[in-house]
Amino acid sequence: MQIYLPIAEISVNAFLLLGLGGIVGILSGMFGVGGGFLMTPLLFFIGIPPAVAVATEANQIVASSFSGVLAHFKRKTVDLRMGTVLLIGGLVGAALGVVVFNYLKAQGQVDLLVKLCYVIFLGVIGGLMFIESLNAIRKTSKGATPKRKKHNWVHGLPFKMRFRVSGLYISVIPPLIVGVLVGILAAIMGVGGGFIMVPAMIYLLGMPTKVVVGTSLFQIIFVTAFTTMLHATTNFTVDIVLAVLLLVGGVFGAQIGTRIGVKMKAEQLRILLAIMVLAVCGKLAFDLLVMPSDVFSIAAGGH
């Protein structure tokens, strides 16, 4: 069934979009990532104009994250306090990121920078996570209990706060810094930042994997809602028909994903996320290294 999108000004297959939304929704519920870094390239591929794809994707993530977070609330796997601290950092970071983005845009080559950012971050995060979770799986299969909590310099900082759900008593400075950095990257790369936030919470803050997913979704809702409003009021690029098609699949997918995630072991969850992140990284690196089918490309508008 073909549907004409009023803002994107293109006709698309409705079932294709429902399916895509569903798949990305499952991943979102399982791993606590928004899924923007997967969906946006897929939308480009269908022929949705990039500006519309990025803006509409933000709106869809609001829906699937909200659906996912409700499922996590029921299981009490959302650390509201940690989420709020990360969110404050994230909003500050996003504001800084927009300034950086506009500066780079004026210099040209912003596309390249975004892609390089993606490849480097996805590669490093995916690689480290893959090795770590592989080791963890080996250790547990040998019967040794995994050791998670380590005391390092993070625990020596002032302004300590108790994060009951995560079982942590640490300074608020590291979560704030993580929030700011993720916010900056999210604004530059045009994504919710879940795939950077999730590993940062696991490895830098030492939060339990199960709590990380719900908490990440919680803060993604606010970041992407903010982004949606920004795009809707300044660029007029949110396509509500496209968003509805994507989010109908997305909200159901997120519920299913959450249920799958709960049944899996933390290491398995981490290794799957690592593989997914590496796959996206590989695809982007491939595009940069291999000669494109057409060296020319068209963009709307003049300077």
Binding site: Q2, S11, S67, L112, A243, V251, M291, G302
Partner: protein, 251 residues
């Protein structure tokens, strides 16, 4: 002097003798939610008060062009092992849609001088004003936009796409693709003999979003804050709804 006037009259008089009378299967294309492209039938007749002149037969060229917009064409090159955009050319006016249908191969029915004057062929319809001096081979950029848009059926050259009957009746069908931009689609009909345009006629097809499409589009521009909030409200409601459904069925 008189000689020139007579010569001029001899040139122009036959031209005035043949005119276009036109019909369109529709002068309005409505974009609804289920819009999936549209065929427009363009047909007409040649009105003349004198007998059909001897010599080369009458040929017909029909063009349909969508609203023009400026676009930037970028070229990639390998630098330090990766493909990066190295230079860009701004094309001042490129129609979002352009179709040319002719009754015989374009080169046979239209000469270069007339093409330049009326901007009929696809390359002539695209205007690039100034490519930066640093860019070599600016023509390749115009060719690139034609190549890319031809691939997506936004630019069409339909040679032998117009059928002409007894040098009087003609008709063609132009297929508008699903990815259509709103606006006035200028439709031009040219009658040519031996490569020269002897008569031209212009009308337009109105392409408009209607119903829900129109309402959403207008709202997104004029009431963007409300539109954004509505998008968010739908997202939150859908997220909550899915969660509620799963809870009720205890999945």
């Amino acid at each position: 002097m008189l000689r020139y006037i007579i010569a001029f009259c001899m040139l122009t008089l036959p031209a005035m003798a043949e005119e276009v009378v036109l019909g369109l299967s529709k002068d309005e294309v409505a974009i609804t939610t289920s819009f999936d492209g549209s065929d427009v039938l363009i047909f007409g007749a040649v009105k003349r008060e004198t007998p059909i002149p001897d010599g080369d037969p009458l040929e017909v060229i029909i063009t349909v062009s969508g609203p023009s917009k400026a676009v930037t064409v970028r070229r990639k090159e390998k630098r330090f092992g990766i493909w990066v955009n190295v230079d860009a050319v701004e094309i001042d006016e490129a129609p979002s849609f352009y179709a040319v249908a002719t009754s015989a191969p374009l080169r046979d029915v239209l000469n270069d001088v007339e093409d330049l004057r009326y901007k009929i062929s696809v390359p002539r319809a695209i205007r690039s004003v100034g490519a930066p001096m640093a860019v070599q081979d600016a023509g390749a950029f115009t060719q690139a936009i034609i190549r890319i848009r031809t691939k997506s059926d936004a630019y069409q050259l339909l040679e032998n796409g117009v059928s002409v009957d007894a040098q009087t009746l003609f008709q063609t069908s132009i297929q508008l693709p699903a990815a259509l931009t709103e606006g006035e689609y200028k439709t031009r009909i040219f009658l040519t003999r031996s490569g020269k345009v002897i008569s031209d006629y212009e009308t337009s097809i109105d392409v408009r979003k209607i119903g829900l499409e129109r309402w959403l589009f207008t709202m997104s521009r004029e009431n963007s804050l409300l539109y954004g909030l509505m998008s968010l409200a739908i997202a939150i409601a859908a997220g909550w709804g899915a969660s509620a459904i799963f809870r009720v069925f205890r999945l």
